[in-house]
């Protein structure tokens, strides 16, 4: 009888623990999750001895260059980033190399566009991933303010001084402490076009100036094809349009001032840039699907509209990662069907590049997380992805010859020779203004695309949204 009672108390305890654990896990779900090895067993340490054997087989021979990493047998960690589909597959190979070197079990969570929201939820719930790749330095700053990030300066000091130029280090440094390391870069000043469509229209490439672009758009339209495809369904594509124009009309100094809200959005320089943008946006017949149609086109769709079948437009502006969408979602071949020219110069502006990138940050003081940050700073970690394509690295240890196609090598080279290179402006700003779907700049530029006539009102709304987000 005594043992019977005890058994029951144990049973209640076990049930209770299970229920609580179940609730916690139910509450912490979010984003699509893939696991390198066996799923679901990540919490129980008792089963690791069998699973780690399975894990270590994925790597085979351990790479010699990453031998300085600790042996993390039996440890598990989680990485979150915006990458999905093709990019996720490519990054998985980087993770595999890390797993091979350290035997740590790595889970990758793809957050999609909403990384600010997902990280925010996870941090509030006390269960952040170990490492995250944040696409916006502004988000990194917001996380630092919440004390959600661990300093990484000591972890990467060697690699950073050897392979990273000062600009990239500065980008990851807040108030003198380094919290982030730029891993993946994108040249966001690339204007992509269908070679066939521009040839039929008799337009010569590269289109060097903005005036040439506008007159070419007229010619292309006459040739029977809509000149521009705009992915207005994603607000960030519109901020990139604006930033490239602003960088060329106002210059890098003003650009940086606007990024820090040192000048207001009602500044005349913003008016000038928006007027230039309206030259395209206000020509409904120049935009595939018209203005209202473009507002429902996501970024990948905007690329498919140019390089897929049926072809709906001749040109699409976005960063060098357009190449990845072309190869994965259309039959078009880079170089023969698709190519790009640098974003045209406006009023004689010098060559300028706007870059975006994903920055690695450490959210947990875990051994595996720290080791991963160390790993990601090595040229090897970048080289794995560079060779797969769709990736530009700020790491100078990666040889240019490793880029798989000349189109991407050109993008990397362009970034080196640009007289002024700036980081994506909306990404530097507080995410409430520059990084959240249907809010702030993303939403207001969508409103601008919907109705390019109400320029003044848009500028005032931009200013009041910026004021609210910057808190000044």
């Amino acid at each position: 009888m005594k043992r019977g009672v005890m058994k029951h108390k144990k049973f209640i305890l076990v049930m209770g623990v299970l229920a609580v654990v179940g609730l916690i896990f139910a509450g912490c779900g979010g984003g699509a999750t893939t696991t390198t090895s066996a799923p679901a067993t990540t919490v129980t340490s008792a089963t690791t001895s069998s699973t780690e054997a399975a894990t270590s087989t994925t790597g085979g021979a351990t790479s010699t260059t990453t031998a300085s990493l600790p042996d993390l047998t039996g440890q598990s960690m989680e990485i979150a980033a915006v990458w999905s589909s093709g990019e996720q597959d490519a990054f998985q190979k980087v993770i595999d190399a890390f797993t091979a070197a350290t035997h740590a079990k790595v889970t990758f969570t793809s957050t999609g566009n909403d990384i600010a929201t997902i990280l925010g939820t996870r941090i509030a719930g006390g269960n952040p991933p170990d490492v995250a790749f944040v696409p916006q330095p502004g988000l990194m700053a917001a996380l630092v303010q919440q004390n959600a990030l661990q300093p990484i300066g000591d972890l990467v000091s060697g690699a950073a001084s050897q392979y990273y130029s000062k600009g990239w280090i500065d980008l990851g440094t807040i108030n003198g402490t380094m919290y982030g390391l730029v891993y993946k870069l994108a040249n966001k000043s690339t204007f992509w076009y269908s070679i066939e469509a521009l040839k039929n229209a008799g337009v010569t490439v590269p289109i060097a100036t903005w005036d040439d672009l506008i007159s070419a758009a007229g010619t292309i339209s006459s040739s029977g094809i809509t000149p521009f495809s705009i992915g207005g369904g994603d607000g960030w594509t519109l901020t990139d349009w604006f930033e490239n124009i602003y960088l060329r009309t106002a210059g890098a100094d003003m650009y940086q001032k606007l990024a820090t809200h040192a000048i207001p959005w009602t500044d005349p320089s913003v008016t000038t840039a928006l007027q230039d943008l309206a030259q395209i946006f206000s020509q409904s017949s120049w935009v595939a699907g018209g203005n209202s149609g473009a507002l429902q086109v996501t970024f990948p769709q905007s690329v498919v509209q140019v390089f897929g079948s049926p072809q709906k437009a001749a040109m699409v502006y976005e960063g060098d990662f357009v190449a990845g969408v072309i190869t994965s979602q259309t039959k078009a071949k880079l170089g023969t069907d698709a190519d790009w020219f640098p974003f045209p110069s406006i009023n004689g502006s010098a060559p300028a590049v706007m870059a975006g990138g994903d920055t690695a940050v450490l959210l947990k003081d875990s051994a595996a997380g720290k080791a991963f940050i160390q790993f990601i700073a090595t040229p090897d970690a970048s080289d794995i992805w560079v060779k797969q394509g769709g990736f530009t690295s700020p790491n100078s240890g990666v040889p240019l010859s490793d880029y798989p196609d000349p189109i991407l090598a050109k993008a990397a080279e362009e970034m080196q020779k640009a007289s002024s290179a700036v980081f994506d402006m909306s990404d530097q700003m507080p995410p409430a203004f520059g990084g959240t779907p249907s809010q702030g700049e993303w939403k207001l530029l969508q409103d601008f695309l919907a109705n390019p006539g109400n320029l003044n009102s848009i500028q005032q709304q931009l200013e009041s949204a910026a004021k609210a987000a910057f808190g000044s």
Partner: protein, 478 residues
């Protein structure tokens, strides 16, 4: 609680009217569950403290309630109070802000849109879903395949709301090749107004040819016996019929207005606008009319080389030339269901698609419980079917209808999933609702969980009356 249970059990058996054997309770297999275990625990507890003590009914009730109270406290009461307290604080940097969040909530235009949309939702969605459910319930009573019918109507409830949202996002796509709603409309529209062969064409010389709707009129009049050159551009070369040939100027004929309509764009560029260059082909099949004071005086169709001859005109009289709209009308481009204006009604339709089945099932159950003789009596008294429905069925069903309605009101106040999935990012702000706004400000860009908590508290206050109503109903029924 470690004393042997058997002796006490025997001793107790006589005293309590409780015929249950404590032994078996203690020894019950593990699978017996919470109830049996709790009973055992209570019995043992009572016995340890006081041999002769019989716990009062209240104590026992309390002991039984403890597990539920703990769960309710941890999962319901604590979060509510925490949210209220949290709503008085700002972001981690701001600290205590008093009622600032509540003030911000009612001055921020985004939140006001959300509140307005929530009001539309509450006013429209539950009523419509209940009405449609009622109609379905009454109709399915009378049809033969009622079970099959009900299953079909109820089916959407079996799909997760997220998936249902994705389905409706596709239904509402603007491109008629993707969106089901627009595909249906375009199938009908294209029958009555078939798309032309050369949509989106524009004149190569805008000063000569003006667009009138989808048709084109010459800016000036032309005498019979003369010829005109009407160049068009913006036509995809693949749309020109493959048997079209090199365009050529028409030969002037007495009593006829002649001319050429051609694609004035040389593939590869380099042509002159307004002149027929080698390699530029005619545009066959365009209806051309000669107009005098807006009245058609003769017509013709363009040939493979783009030439046309409008015969039987008075020499010396001047005519305007019109290129008929039938050739230039674009295919139906699709209605913007998820545009700024209609996005909320569109989502409400999706909501009704899901929840009408729920209303139908509950109301049908109520309908089955209505005594047939009342209905028969009404019919015998000479009431028409409508009168029976209106004066007998609906009043008898009122309690069920109210419960359905109130449940849906509570449900609609909390609406979130459909609003985040269906609208594209560009119109999500116009479709915003309180629950979505709460989530966005708490965890999106601003990470302002204070404001989010304030919104949550506001939502809670809105829901309380509906919940109170439901609780009172349950109480009056038992």
């Amino acid at each position: 609680m470690s004393e042997p249970a058997k002796d006490d059990g025997n001793g107790r058996q006589g005293r309590g009217g409780n015929g249950e054997q404590p032994g078996p309770v203690g020894a019950a297999p593990a699978g017996a569950g919470w109830l049996a275990t709790a009973g055992g625990a209570v019995a043992t507890l009572g016995r340890t403290r006081l041999r002769g003590w019989r716990p009062s009914r209240w104590t026992i009730a309390l002991l039984f309630l403890i597990p539920a109270l703990v769960f309710l406290g941890v999962l319901v009461v604590y979060p509510i109070f925490f949210s209220v307290v949290r709503s008085l604080y700002g972001t981690p940097g701001q600290g205590f802000v008093g009622f600032h969040n509540y003030k911000a909530m009612f001055t921020d235009p985004t939140t006001l849109t959300a509140i307005k949309n929530n009001a539309i939702w509450v006013a429209v969605a539950p009523t419509l879903a209940t009405l449609i459910g009622l109609v379905f319930a009454v109709v399915t009573e009378r049809v033969k395949l009622r079970t099959a019918f009900k299953i079909v109507i109820f089916m959407p409830m079996a799909i997760s709301f997220l998936s249902a949202g994705v389905i409706w996002r596709l239904v509402y796509e603007q491109d008629p090749h993707i969106g089901l709603a627009n595909a249906g409309i375009s199938a009908i529209v294209d029958v009555f107004r078939p798309p032309g062969q050369y949509p989106n064409a524009t004149p190569s010389q805008p000063q000569l040819l003006k667009a009138q709707g989808y048709a084109f009129d010459t800016a000036s009049s032309h005498a019979a016996d003369t010829t005109v050159l009407l160049g068009l551009v913006g036509i995809r070369p693949s749309l020109v019929p493959s048997n079209a040939v090199q365009a050529r100027p028409a030969q002037a004929q007495p009593g006829a207005l002649a001319g050429t309509v051609w694609l004035d764009f040389k593939p590869g560029g380099g042509g002159t606008a307004g002149a027929i260059d080698p390699g530029e082909r005619g545009l066959p099949g365009i209806a051309v009319e000669a107009l005098q004071n807006g009245k058609s005086m003769g017509s013709a169709k363009t040939a493979l080389d783009g030439t046309f001859f409008i015969e039987g005109l008075d020499p010396g009289v001047k005519y305007a030339v019109q290129l008929g709209s039938s050739a230039f009308r674009p295919a139906y481009g699709g209605f913007s269901w998820l545009g700024a204006a209609l996005v909320t009604p569109s989502i409400i339709v999706a909501y009704i698609w899901i929840w009408a089945g729920f209303a139908m099932v509950l109301i049908a159950a109520g309908l089955a419980a209505i005594p047939r003789d009342v209905l028969e009596a009404a019919r015998v008294d000479g009431a028409s079917e409508w009168q029976v429905f209106r004066k007998v069925t609906v009043p008898l069903l009122m309690p069920v209808i109210l419960v359905v309605l109130v449940t849906l009101v509570v449900n609609v106040l909390k609406i979130f999933d459909l609003v985040i999935v269906i609208p594209p990012e560009s119109t999500q702000a116009q479709a915003n609702v309180i629950a979505l706004q709460m989530w966005r400000v708490s965890f999106g860009g601003g990470l302002n969980q204070g404001l989010g908590s304030a919104l949550a508290v506001f939502l809670f206050i809105l829901i309380v009356p509906a919940m109170a109503f439901n609780v009172r109903r349950f109480r009056s029924e038992t």
